[in-house]
Symmetry: D2
């Protein structure tokens, strides 16, 4: 693939940035706006629960995000059942937000791991209702294949727990998912530093979605720039075709199997 | 440190790029020139042995490197004893190349690991002769402290064997070196992909030097760009102050100790 | 806990060995018998599909396993739906094998990852029918909590794919599971070498189940002995209370977070 | 190699245990005696500086170690120069301790990393004086080859800093050393838990030497037993021939390169 024409395609839409970012945890809307801007992200995810969609006279996060500039991706953060998540998506659509949704059904408030059983239920119904569903899920190939079969537009396995900053804890699982699904694989959750984002891209992922790593950094705007550069660096590194790993340069056989 | 004024200082000189690159293994000088250009590197290392310094009428690698644009860093690649390395540095200086040298004394042709005993001998003599010495060495804190005490302008521990592409195999050693020496610590050798370069910078290194990772990639020019972005991304990520690692977001204590 | 009285308790039964082993892939029944013997395992898992339970006049794997010596754990290897797995368990019970079952519902023939959605369905029904269910599952804390809530007697998350020999790829997930469920956590699948089994035990797991690592080794009987020793070593190491990890001995703060 | 006749040979002596243990940091001599006993170690290392060799009327560590049962290996812990280490070895010989010595020349009191330059000097002189020298050194293949060429009876690269409990931080380096030297390679320093010792043996090392991991554990006697079992488990696992690593069992190519 020529590097220059490399774009991300999700459900017929095309994006030049492979970094998707969240909007929570910033100290001010101004800081958020700056970080979003410098991140170069085109897809911005927003928790429906955090947006005041009933009374649009009050100040809202949405006032700070230019819908002509960004593709808004409403998410169901804070939903713990399929029903709750479905209701939240419908609400977002009714409020005119989008029918492109990031589907989260969390399993508990402590670890924020997904409840994949409820996720599958919700995804089926939402796809049937015409939503473009991007599900946050475990790094489980069987689950990802089911989500693809249901008609999800991408799969978004976690790299590590939400907000943990642990990076991609199991690159083997991500590689197995990449080998077995055809929709875009976007690492969602777990990124802590720039190198984590680069690693996701070097594995061959289509994109990376993050929030805490940027918003929770000591300097969120500088970190947003770091992440923009890291995603591009990782993508270019993947496309450029890295040298084989060897025990030393003159070793006769490459260490093909090594992933991280 | 304000991100904007962040520069690399070595022996009184100041550089805005923290990526240093080599000049070997390219398929053509034209490819090399393009890769150097896009890498943004300001310091370019050249094997004295590969440069035709006695008969400057013949075509030479040096014809392709603008000395006004780049700081040339002659290196002693291919030297296996202190004497040989010292002689090579003197030759470079006599030929007007520079007295800023990358000192390599290799231990064997197979693994290309440094011979640190010979390296120390050569470094002592070269520093005394007024060279600015940047030694390629093992990731050994005691050795690095000795090199600093001798008067080396930086230390350049390996991340992994030359040309191996294994990345930083022992980030713990790099961290210990960073805690214990005051001169710039530059990871030299071992980088394979963009994320490896980012990791070096996130550890707090002052820079990264590489050759094979770029020249040996399927698309060296794209990889040179990837590395430029990765070094900046890693540096920004370091300066921005990453979120703490935790088992999950709500875990009470951070995983401070975790390095990679 | 005093080391001497350390036993594994599952569903009211008590075992002194924490190593559970399979019976497939041996080159002969004689080899299997030797390996089982030397492994010290008390729980032996048998694929119901591989046992000739309808015609007990033919030679059967069961002829080689003394039911007085071993606790037989029938498993549903080769089942790809909840229905299939349930039927297989009922068959095993009718044939008088046991109502202590290892429940496997595989997602595909290629990766042998579990289908956790079908697993949950099967587990619910089997627990209701009075089976003591030990499910092979992903290393997913929400799933494990659901399996515990359903009434499973243990959870058996994979360390890595069946037969991969990759060891415990995500010790962070195992630790999170250990923190959040009360039933025994037994690592099932992924072990390759003795150290992998030791690591499982050092994380605090109640036991390890393996088959390929032993049966597929060049010398299965020697590997069975290695695994016996490794499980005991890992358990003792866990109970003995290891030294804290530090960057170096005199470092002021321990690296508490480091897991692997 | 038949498992049964597997022994460790160093400088013409033969040992059935591959675990070597230290004698420092125990809370009492009684505890030390118990731990040594249960560890099964045949080679016991003793800091010459800690032994009262001038006035044998006072209580001494040596009173607790039966020289008929154990091979005493005097060590030069606490020496920071070649001269100091040489003097200490001569003193040990004069006192009738042994001319089988563990040579340590430390680089600083903080990290306890070896000073490999001083180590080489000391090793040369001691070998010439007829000592059987086992040097504690960095995991540096060039250094290890020099130590072998000098005539050392084994090389003892560190797994991680003394007392750090970090395990083998760079198994790639240990593998390169194993490929390039002929004398026994014994991992000395860095072990924290049983699995670390097993990993050393699975890499193909001839033995493991440790002190803090046992003496510093909450229950040193239980940890000593864990280590005994782990070393045997790791050695058996190595000899038994482990299964190849694969991304999943049916993957077409093994992950040969993966080391840890």
């Amino acid at each position: 693939m020529p590097v220059s024409s490399d774009t991300l395609k999700i459900a017929g839409r095309e994006f030049s940035s492979r970094l998707m970012v969240g909007t929570g945890k910033y100290t001010s809307f101004e800081q958020m706006v700056q970080a979003l801007e410098i991140s170069g992200a085109e897809i911005i995810t927003v928790a429906v629960r955090r947006v005041n969609i009933s009374d649009r006279n009050k100040e809202s996060l949405l006032d700070y995000i230019d819908p002509k500039k960004y593709t808004l991706l409403p998410n169901t953060a804070g939903c713990y059942t399929a029903d709750d998540a479905i209701r939240t998506c419908r609400l977002a659509r009714e409020a005119g937000l989008s029918d492109f949704v990031k589907l989260e059904v969390l399993g508990d408030e402590k670890t924020l791991f997904p409840d994949n059983e409820e996720l599958l239920k919700a995804a089926k119904i939402l796809v049937n209702e015409g939503f473009t569903v991007l599900p946050y899920c475990s790094d489980d190939v069987i689950l990802c294949k089911k989500l693809e079969d249901i008609g999800c537009a991408a799969v978004m396995p976690l790299g590590a727990p939400i907000g943990s900053g642990l990076g991609i804890r199991n690159p083997y699982n991500i590689r197995i998912i990449l080998e077995n699904v055809s929709v875009p694989v976007i690492v969602d959750a777990g990124v802590g530093a720039a190198s984590d984002a680069a690693i996701a891209m070097e594995l061959g992922c289509a994109g990376v979605l993050m929030n805490t790593a940027i918003a929770g950094a000591q300097n969120p705007v500088a970190m947003a720039e770091a992440m923009k550069l890291a995603v591009t660096a990782g993508r270019l590194s993947y496309l450029a075709g890295r040298i084989p790993r060897k025990l030393y340069a003159n070793a006769s056989s490459p260490l093909d199997g090594m992933i991280s």
